[in-house]
């Protein structure tokens, strides 16, 4: 998802009886559906995992501006330009909520940026794919925001209070994102032959990368079990992927588009679609930095940060001067 492949720091999941009283009280509170707040005691692993997860989610929102920003200046109508600007502005806002949530765990936004720029922290693999035509703006909203919603809705109930509250605010805006994407697709499939071709091409390229957003199967992963016990992960990766496919196949049919997977078939027994897994070798290549846009996306962010250093320093210097003048006046 926006936080893929988060490796938990725990060695295995302890039973309540193996925990000391403090940790046991913490776990029991989570089990009872209670929220952990910044000032509460928490195990080191919980804190570290959350920082990685929320930080990666925040970075995804920020880097996620770039593939859509790629089309803002080429949006075909004033209305589309305005909608896309509003959406991308939302995504930057999501980044802000999430950095603030992560900061309550004792890390600064600047430290997280540094980790991103040095490759120690990641962002979602999906943003390392290019947006090549206007239909990609449709596909991103429809599929990428659609997949994000699958993951983010349950996270509104996550155990860490500031994260849960950030998710509530974010989820309110995400449904608009998906709708505007689907709306673009509708226009494309009802348009000229060239537009239909663009729409199909976008789906062809985006389908498997969207499935990758949920991460590889985590059925047997110790990390996942720990995260689930802590309620910082609410569902298994396969479970969410299945939900996403079940939701998306009828939408593709409605659009008259063909999902680039010949094996897709309704499975009465399981009450869901059978479908092909994405190429996980490609997924790990992208994570290692070899996706089509990794280098550019990261370089764009690094350059923005470096070119903006004088601005941040100037603003800090001015704020310090104002503080000094105020103090002198008192």
């Amino acid at each position: 998802m926006y936080a893929q492949m988060i490796q938990s720091t725990g060695k295995g999941v302890k039973t309540l009886d193996e925990m000391d009283p403090q940790e046991r009280a913490f776990q029991e509170r989570i089990n009872a559906g209670g929220k952990i707040e910044p000032k509460d005691w928490m195990p080191d692993g919980y804190r570290k995992n959350l920082i990685r997860q929320i930080g990666q989610h925040a970075h995804s929102e920020v880097v996620g501006q770039l593939p859509e920003g790629n089309w803002i200046t080429r949006a075909p109508t004033l209305e589309r330009k305005a909608i896309l600007l509003a959406k991308v502005q939302d995504e930057a806002g999501h980044g802000l909520y999430l950095y603030c949530a992560a900061e309550t765990l004792g890390i600064t936004r600047d430290e997280m940026y540094e980790a991103l720029h040095e490759g120690r922290m990641k962002y979602s693999s999906i943003f390392n794919y290019p947006t090549l035509t206007w239909a990609d703006m449709g596909a991103v909203g429809w599929l990428v925001d659609g997949a994000a919603i699958m993951n983010q809705v349950p996270l509104q109930r996550t155990s860490y209070g500031p994260y849960a509250r950030a998710m509530v605010r974010i989820c309110k805006e995400e449904s608009f994102h998906q709708r505007q994407g689907f709306d673009i697709m509708m226009k494309m499939v009802n348009g000229t032959a060239a537009q239909k071709k663009m729409a199909q091409d976008a789906l062809n390229r985006m389908w498997f990368p969207s499935l990758m957003m949920f991460g590889p199967s985590d059925e047997d992963s110790v990390h996942s079990v720990q995260s689930m016990a802590w309620k910082i992960k609410m569902n298994g990766n396969d479970e969410l992927r299945q939900k996403f496919v079940d939701q998306t196949v009828p939408q593709a049919e409605y659009l008259g588009l063909t999902i680039p997977d010949e094996t897709i078939k309704w499975n009465e027994e399981k009450g869901g679609y059978d479908f092909a897994q994405p190429d996980w070798t490609e997924f790990f290549d992208v994570l290692r930095g070899n996706g089509p846009c990794n280098q550019e996306r990261l370089q764009t962010r690094k350059s923005a940060w470096e070119d903006g250093a004088w601005v941040r320093e100037g603003m800090l210097a001015h704020a310090a001067k104002k503080r000094a003048t105020r103090l002198a006046a008192e």
Binding site: P76, A92, A304, H318
Partner: protein
Amino acid sequence: MSNAALFQTLLRLGDNTLVLGHRVSEWCGKAPVLEEDIALANTALDLIGQTQMWLGYAAEIENEGRSADDLAMLRDVWDFRNILMVERPNLDFGHTMMRQFLFDAYHRTLLTALKDSTNPRIAEIAAKAVKEATYHFERSAETVIALGDGTPESHEFMQNGLNLLWPFTGEMFECDAIDAEMAAAGVIPDPISLRDTWIALVSDTLTEATLAIPQDDFAHKGGRTGRQHTEHLGHLLTQMQWLQRAYPGANW
């Protein structure tokens, strides 16, 4: 009052917001701090929203079956009526914010006057837009002050931006036959009458920002009249209009 003159006046208003909105949107995802990413996207969004109103009305006045989108996406350089300043490339963040500030101070002053236009549609649009322009002005002025009076390096960026942009400010107060006709009918204020308010607004902020106002009064002109744009506008349109040009008649 002729419709032709009114049409030109509306293009002048709408092309300013369209072209500046485009420039500001180029910052998407690349601002120095995340709060600025949000603010710049918000500014661009406001400007594009205003464009829809101005060009929408312009299209009605023209009455030749063109829409606001047709005006934005299918005119060539010589038919654009924005001032040259807004089509200048962003360069660095200092230049971008200085341009925004100089424009916002003008825009706010102009829209405040347009609220009293004898043309009710213009008055109505101006009443909506002036709220946004006022907010933009407060924000860009704050940024200019902070960076002008920040570090020696940030001061230099802002002073350079101001020096580069100053010769492009005179065009805002230029008055030609179209303006004279519109001003006589009370549709717009005489552009020259806006200058004192603008100078006062701008000087206050620039003084607080410890920046020196250039003394040369030379003004580059030709955008508002369409006589001669900069080379930059053609490239901007190449990008902005590409889809509409490449796939004529498609619905998006």
